[in-house]
Symmetry: C2
Subunit: 300 residues, 2 copies
């Protein structure tokens, strides 16, 4: 299962009562943060999200509303006596940004490892039992969405285990995916089952890679910078999405649920435009600071 | 008169409900900010402080809880269509920090001018009708306090103006400090009167330069990192002040009023230690986010 916590819903600048958009994902003892704008560490504390097990920070793109919280966040992690390294992943240029971060917060007692993503290409980041896949979006600068996938093994089949003459004391380890004494998990497991998939996309115009990533997602967290229909030219100009465009993305990709986020500071009342998005995709709702859910494997 | 707004009271890291310590001063159409930690722009908005007339940012020292808000703050100022330059003043190294800030927030449409203060020396910054004087403090890294001084001209003496044969239509301009048709203000004004003085000091141990700067100040805004008496060794080690030490500074310098700020994140209830500071200096109170006052010229 995947723990999900949206830390904020703002775009461009943090506002009183509206933290900038970022996301914490947790699964099997590992924790990942997507984006760190100014105030993200406060939003996390407010939401009760600890950064203790945080080992990976994914940055969507190098606009400051997605990165300017890095110096303070890393400093606070250092002040909590952290010594374990942190990996920061982002578009080309993230290395230079991290050098700048270290000028502002020079006293970190842990390593920061940096991975630059190649423009236009997808890349899989393994977090042990689950994966995060970066995929390119369509913004004014190179930008990546992130797809989190928790795979699920096939069902254990005791008949097959018996037939293969596998001693019972090895069954549990085989079930857990281990190869033991020459026996392999595929000898006792059925086909892989549907796992859990979450997609996070901001900042972007509608994009083929986004539809593709969001196919059958359990949850799509997607930017909706503007709700007002007359803002479409502005959305196109600044490479952002309308509420309706995010809803269409969810509908066409077959996502189960859509949370809208990354609202323009000019959008004082996102709730005014929710219904029009729900008319396109009924399972649309608004993100909010500290909104949580747990994505679980479906019942067999 | 000097408008004062304390934006926050935290030290080390921003917390929900406790912004990092920083101060906005306004006088005669010019506005100055001291320190910009993570979240300062949100605190300012919450307090109703506009950055429209902000032309000078003074940084006390280069710890990230005093600087990490600069990228977001400058970006937001840029997003408000600012074109006027901003001057950033701080200890040696501030230039390098500002280069890093511009890597994180590269798209600024206005100039950022940087002034580095020489370690251990005082320096006066003129803001037209008022001055800000940087003076050295005692911290783990080079650190400056700031003294804001609004001078006040002598009282207008119509008898002297008459005696000097100055035409009445020139009196007003002379009163305002202008030299007109060979007549100088000192020909019609009495001796300079007491103006307004504010002193801001964080982060520091008690220091001679601080006492000196705070002599007869109308308001001393001073760090009190710790209230608990058993934290004195920690305060010494990290070069911070106890509530009682700040109160002694106010008492000995003859300041009129003391606001405590820059509380440690470990100090959950600063109010528990206020009385002990008031026992030393009765006009001690706690800073709080958005606390405002107006320092006015005294009645003649």
């Amino acid at each position: 299962m995947l723990d999900v916590c949206l830390l904020g819903t703002g775009g461009t600048m943090p506002l009183p009562g509206r933290w900038l958009t970022s996301l914490v994902l947790r699964c099997n003892g590992r924790s990942l943060l997507i984006d760190a704008g100014e105030g993200t560490q406060i939003a996390a504390r407010e939401a009760g999200c600890s950064f203790k097990n945080l080992d990976t920070i994914c940055i969507t793109h190098l606009h400051a509303d997605h990165t300017a919280g890095l110096p303070g966040l890393l400093l606070t992690m250092g002040n909590m006596d952290r010594t374990e390294p942190v990996t920061v992943i982002g578009p080309n240029g993230i290395r230079r940004v991290m050098e700048a971060v270290k000028v502002i917060a020079p006293e970190l007692a842990f390593d920061v490892r940096v991975t630059e993503l190649e423009e236009g290409s997808a890349r899989t980041i393994s977090l042990g039992d689950w994966d995060v896949i970066a995929f390119p979006l369509r913004h004014t600068v190179p930008c990546f969405g992130y797809q989190a996938v928790v795979p699920r093994r096939g069902k254990f089949d005791p008949m097959r285990a018996l037939e293969a003459g596998i001693p019972k004391q090895l069954w549990k380890r085989l079930q857990q995916g281990e190869t033991v004494e020459g026996f392999t998990p595929d000898m006792v497991l059925g086909p892989a089952r549907r796992g859990v998939k979450l997609v996070y996309a901001t900042d972007t115009r509608p994009a083929k890679a986004l539809y593709k990533a969001a196919v059958d997602a359990d949850l799509l967290i997607c930017e909706g910078m503007y709700g007002e229909p007359d803002k479409l030219p502005k959305a196109k100009e600044t490479c952002h999405m309308m509420f309706g465009e995010a809803a269409k993305t969810a509908l066409c990709s077959g996502a189960k649920e859509l949370w809208l986020t990354h609202f323009s500071p000019s959008l004082n009342h996102p709730e005014d435009y929710l219904q029009s998005a729900q008319a396109i995709f009924p399972h649309t709702s608004l993100g909010k600071s500290g909104r949580k859910t747990v994505l679980q494997f479906p019942e067999d």
